[in-house]
Symmetry: C3
Subunit: 256 residues, 3 copies
């Protein structure tokens, strides 16, 4: 099984599929080709949330603002999964979630005719090669060289405070839900009560439908993080936040 993820939209990903199917009859599964353009952080977040739900597979990821520059192409072996993509950090959060014992390899590739479509000319063929050779092929192959250094990417950590917690919006999803870096555990005992978000009150609820249509709520999303949302509406607009916005949650009982 080979999964494909990119920010290419349409129709470029089809050429990647052709390039794989010329070399392998692996099952192909699209993760998405609509990651926000060239947004390595957003892609890294989604991959971390989604890929661990898959059985062992080769995952071909192309969100690559540095295409055509000197950045390396890498493969990351994480348990029985292999991640293939550019060396810009996009693969690291999911690798770390899959296992602490991941290993990184640089992919040797000839300069393709095209300098602008490494998805088709470098990463898709590399994913097919890994799939056909198997997850244990790295040591014996000439095409992959183990490298100890790579570009890392870590999401920012929230800071706990006496009367609450301060974090930031990591990404806004297609529904307008603002997903923060604050672990949902902070709200574990607070469902049914209220908190303030950057100074304004909002109810903490387990489900969107627990508030009226168009009303704000603070919840814990399917990813396990605190999320600012609106039932049947856009949380980013109603909370006036976007990717990177600072979020201060303050507990209702802190000023009693």
């Amino acid at each position: 099984m080979i999964t494909l993820s990119s920010d290419f939209g349409s129709p470029y990903p089809a050429a990647m599929k052709g390039a794989i199917l010329q070399r392998s009859d692996a099952r192909l599964v699209d993760i998405t080709h609509d990651f926000p353009r060239q947004d390595v952080t957003a892609a890294a977040f989604w991959l971390r949330e989604i890929l661990p739900y898959f059985p062992p597979a080769v995952h071909c990821v192309v969100v690559d603002p540095g295409v055509g520059t000197e950045r390396a192409a890498i493969a990351v072996r994480a348990g029985e999964h292999v991640l293939v993509g550019p060396d810009n950090g996009v693969l690291l959060p999911v690798a770390r979630r899959l296992t602490q014992d991941f290993e990184t390899f640089e992919i040797a590739y000839e300069d393709p005719g095209s300098t602008t479509f490494h998805g088709r000319d470098v990463f898709a063929p590399a994913a097919a090669t890994v799939h056909e050779a198997g997850v244990d092929s790295f040591e014996s192959g000439e095409r992959f060289e183990r490298v100890p250094e790579y570009v890392d990417l870590q999401f920012p950590e929230p800071s706990e405070r006496e009367d609450g917690v301060t974090g930031e919006v990591l990404i806004v999803d297609g529904f307008g839900n603002a997903i923060t870096n604050i672990p949902g555990e902070y709200l574990a005992e607070r469902f049914g009560s209220d908190v303030t978000v950057n100074g304004a009150w909002a109810p903490v609820r387990r489900t969107y439908a627990a508030v009226e249509d168009g009303s704000r709520l603070v919840t814990v999303g399917s990813h396990g993080n605190v999320e600012l949302a609106v039932n049947q509406g856009r949380g980013d607009e109603r909370f006036s936040v976007k990717s990177g916005s600072r979020i201060r949650l303050r507990w209702a009982d802190s000023n009693q």
Copy 2:
């Protein structure tokens, strides 16, 4: 074969695919993940039009405004097809079109860690379970209980009048075609002539290309219903209608 339908957009459906592929190697076919958000009626209409074209399959449908509330999860056995989704009526129109002898079962599920992503945590695993156990497994399984009651959904019926027929717009498709609840049979003898739509004349034609670019027409869509359209344009805008708009067709010969 398992088909997937939702209003999740991207990238959430990929987690549903992973959850299925952990449990089954069924062939997966996307119907769409771009149903209008939380629009149960629109999804029910499209499923009724599309799923009967498929060979026997398990169809996993998640358009679920009540996620996280007490609404049940159900499976509907309709001939050799099984429909899995929320108990909000979305599965009923297609079930009824597949067979009059459909049967409904409630799906028992443990409260998943997430209260907001039942697509991944409840419906996808249930679809995989049904696929692996087979369409005849409901009676013997502990996970499914036959239930005689369920939330139904019926599309409104048009009313015939002496000089025409009155109905409403069920949905507007991505091209801007306004699809009504009026059966195409009403126009069977009228192709080539004109009718009035809410008082304004429009030609009845078999094909969009039978009128000039940008011109209005009344036709019978691939779904068999009367459709208000514009050749290479948007019918909803030019007829000033939207989902739910009342439509009165009056025959050209009625005032002779």
Copy 3:
């Protein structure tokens, strides 16, 4: 393997898949269903760029402004590939790129119940029939008749001038890159230097990242043609061009 391409958006292509899967268990691969609506030239361009990357397959293409008119349905045998679609030229540029010895056949079909959805009712069943019967079945089958004439489509040719070359924009992709009909070979010796585009200076670079964010460049895209682009921005807007715009490239050294 059957690939599917259309301008249908969502959810109509799912009915095409069902219609195929009723008749064949072929592997299905979506090329795209988001070709610009009824734009035969754009679809023909993308198919020519993408399909040659695939292993031998049946390719079902539906971009069909003339649906329901007298236009024929054709199959084109190009080497081990077969292209199925409307006789409006959309299949010809890719057929010609696959092989100079392509052959065209008219597909006989009964008038389907629907006059507006030949994708589901004519082309999908025809693609399944070809797939099941094999690429050598045309001569023996009753359903396909060899025809010497078909609607052709040729992209316009650029004209070389003493101090440069004049061509036009063929299409603008989803990133805003303006793809011209000028072969990349014209720029082979000019990377690192500047040219004028319709009178204004722009650098010729191999990669988007070779200029600053938001800056214009002239490059050679993955398709091998000259492309007007902006690093992390839209080339069509910054060069003030659209599909069909005339482009005059003039060499920097021509006025020395």
